[in-house]
């Protein structure tokens, strides 16, 4: 455990992957839009599920999940995805696909590779922390840090 327990997509091999993007003819429910939920770690994932309740009951919207693989806190993600039966799309597939919307509760990873408008939210009680400037660390203050708009840097 600990530092060595990074996120590894291969751990999801046993789990059926979702087909990214728009519904295929093999699907049962033909949703009109596809939303991508972006997971960084279990912390951001729990908040993500809280937020995605806005789509409950609407078969027009399908939700898929991916993981940036950027957080040092990768432990538990595979178990979380499996336990919650999240339809998972690999990061590679995400880069090749287009989504109608992405929701991200953290700022890390190569979010610019996602082809979708992104809604960024906090994963805690607003924005209270500034992370120290270490490799892979950014700021969780709104707009602090990066000049590339809103501190969209790696912060886990």
């Amino acid at each position: 455990m600990g530092a060595g327990d990074m996120w590894d997509e291969r751990r999801l091999n046993a789990f059926p992957a979702a087909v990214p993007g728009p519904p295929s003819r093999w699907g049962t429910v033909a949703a009109e839009r596809t939303v991508l939920g972006v997971i960084h770690n279990v912390t951001s994932a729990t908040r993500l599920l809280d937020l995605l309740t806005v789509f409950d009951g609407d078969p027009r919207v399908a939700v898929q999940f991916t993981c940036t693989g950027s957080s040092p806190f990768g432990g538990g993600i595979a178990e979380f995805i499996t336990a919650h039966e999240l339809p998972y799309v690999s990061w590679d597939e995400v880069r090749k696909s287009t989504f109608d919307l992405a929701i991200s509760t953290s700022r890390g990873g190569d979010l610019q590779q996602i082809s979708a408008p992104i809604i960024g939210t906090p994963h805690g009680a607003g924005y209270n922390k500034t992370l120290r400037r270490e490799p892979g660390a950014g700021s969780r203050e709104p707009g602090a840090g990066s000049r590339r708009l809103m501190g969209w840097r790696r912060s886990g």
Binding site: M1, R33, G126, K129, R132
Partner: protein, 486 residues
């Protein structure tokens, strides 16, 4: 990469955004905080959350919240090898009486998953044995715990803000000023909430916070910054999402739902053996009142023996209670009271004799009455006397161990008395008003207000070994009436 929308929970954040990154302001949307909304609408179900977490009626639940990192509450909890500072988790379990308080540790998932759940639970095992609840952090249990709690001890993590916003009084076990954004509500709470004092008893500090903080407008103002759109977060978020999707919103409104009841195991590795306890009793003699002579009272406060260490200013002259089968010699050897488990089979050697031999310091052996009689029991003394103890009412704590401690208090009181029979009011929790640090600020933790009756027979000059005289100890409430049966 340009985000389409930046979601904020309070207008105040937009001002900080304006200072830090003005070009992002047009894309910002203040929607409020969905978790704060959910906690708010879950508040009416406090009793359901408490029941699901195993909190007994009248108990105070103290929420210990830790974010991640070395400067977090958990990161700052010293190892057991540090006698000068045992750490606040240990102090919470050691200093708060087990019948009046429960503690729940809400650990940040980053800390949990970095080290692994097994490791966290292993590190906390001495406290779990003493009653600490440690739910897995991915669940909704932290929200349920906030709804169920009476106070919190936190750090610079979000749960401190959520707990304060819920109106809970709290203390700070640690606070990392370096990583808290200046001007944020968390920074303000860091200024306003008291830090845990290493010298004052924790119970006193919590009582003080419970008295002072509810009326503190500065704390309320800071905590209210958790959301500037109370109740609206989900509906505003849905509006934002559907606008981006180019879809009409569903007809049905989206509303926050109460937090699910925690069902996961919060106390893994349950032991069949009750923990050794230090028990402090306070005996108050009967005082005549307007309605005739009152009853003597015994207040029983119990603490985990294994966590006391060198400290213990909160404890005076305790006796030690263990259950039959206690493996640790340091407790078995000094136990004043040994409680036989109800499941113990009746062997050829009477259990009391066997246990008086096994436990050289023991003066009372409690033998539970047959099943169905709640906490009634027979109490054997080393000198051969025997008491029958009967509770006149029942609560979760009316158990043989408490009856035995009440008898202990009666036997060790200052004065002698030859009454054949006596009734004692037994209480778990705050001592009579005026004599206790927090008696005034909270209602009695056990409003059932069970009383104990202790009937005594005359002294036993002619008693011989093998022919023990019998005294009668009865534990009764005023209602239903004492029926005199032994």
């Amino acid at each position: 990469m340009i985000p389409a929308a930046i979601v904020l929970s309070h207008d105040e954040q937009r001002e900080r955004l304006r200072r830090g990154c003005p070009e992002a302001v047009p894309r910002s949307h203040v929607i409020g905080d969905p978790c704060a909304d959910q906690i708010r609408i879950s508040a009416p179900f406090r009793e359901e959350y408490r029941t699901a977490l195993g909190i007994r009626p009248g108990q105070k639940l103290v929420l210990l919240t830790s974010t991640w990192g070395e400067r977090s509450f958990l990161g700052r909890s010293p190892a057991p090898g540090a006698p000068s500072d045992p750490g606040i988790i240990r102090r919470a379990l050691a200093e708060l009486p087990v019948d009046e308080y429960r503690a729940l540790a809400a650990i940040h998932p980053n800390a949990w998953h970095w080290h692994g759940g097994w490791q966290i639970r292993s590190w906390l095992e001495p406290y779990i044995r003493a009653g600490l609840l440690v739910p897995t952090p991915e669940s909704d249990s932290w929200k349920a715990a906030i709804c169920a709690a009476d106070a919190f001890i936190g750090d610079h993590g979000s749960l401190t803000l959520y707990a304060a916003a819920h109106g809970l009084p709290g203390l700070l076990a640690s606070f990392d000023d370096d990583c808290v954004a200046a001007g944020s509500p968390m920074a303000r709470l860091g200024e306003l909430l008291p830090r845990v004092s290493p010298s004052l008893p924790l119970r006193q500090q919590l009582a003080h916070a419970a008295r002072r903080q509810p009326g503190d407008a500065r704390i309320a103002r800071a905590a209210a910054q958790v959301t500037s759109r109370p109740g609206e977060a989900l509906s505003r978020l849905r509006e934002l999402c559907y606008a981006h999707l180019g879809l009409a919103e569903p007809v049905d409104p989206v509303v926050p739902r109460p937090v699910a009841l925690p069902v996961e195991r919060t106390a893994p590795r349950r032991t069949p053996l009750a923990q050794p306890l230090f028990v402090a009793t306070r005996f108050t003699d009967a005082e005549a009142g307007e309605e005739g002579p009152g009853r003597p009272q015994v207040t029983v406060r119990r603490y985990p023996a294994a966590l006391q260490g060198e400290r213990g200013t909160h404890l005076t002259d305790p006796h030690v209670v263990v259950e039959e089968g206690e493996p640790e010699e340091r407790w078995a050897g000094v136990a004043d009271i040994v409680v036989i488990r109800r499941s113990t089979p009746r062997g050829p050697t009477p259990a009391p004799e066997r246990l008086f031999t096994r436990h050289p310091g023991c003066i009372v052996v409690a033998v539970p009455a047959p099943a169905g009689s709640a906490g009634d029991c027979t109490l054997h003394l080393r000198d051969g006397r025997e008491f029958t103890a009967r509770w006149g009412g029942s609560a979760w704590w009316t158990e043989p161990a408490v009856a035995a401690s009440a008898l202990h208090a009666w036997l060790t009181r200052d004065e002698e008395d030859d009454a054949a029979e006596v009734t004692i009011d037994v209480a778990i929790g705050p001592e009579p008003a005026g004599s206790d640090a927090d008696a005034g600020e909270s209602p009695a933790p056990l409003p059932l207000s069970l009383s104990l009756s202790l009937p005594l027979v005359p002294p036993l000059p002619g008693s011989r070994p093998g022919q023990p005289a019998q005294r009668l100890l009865r534990l009764e409430t005023p209602q239903p009436p004492v029926d005199g049966q032994s």
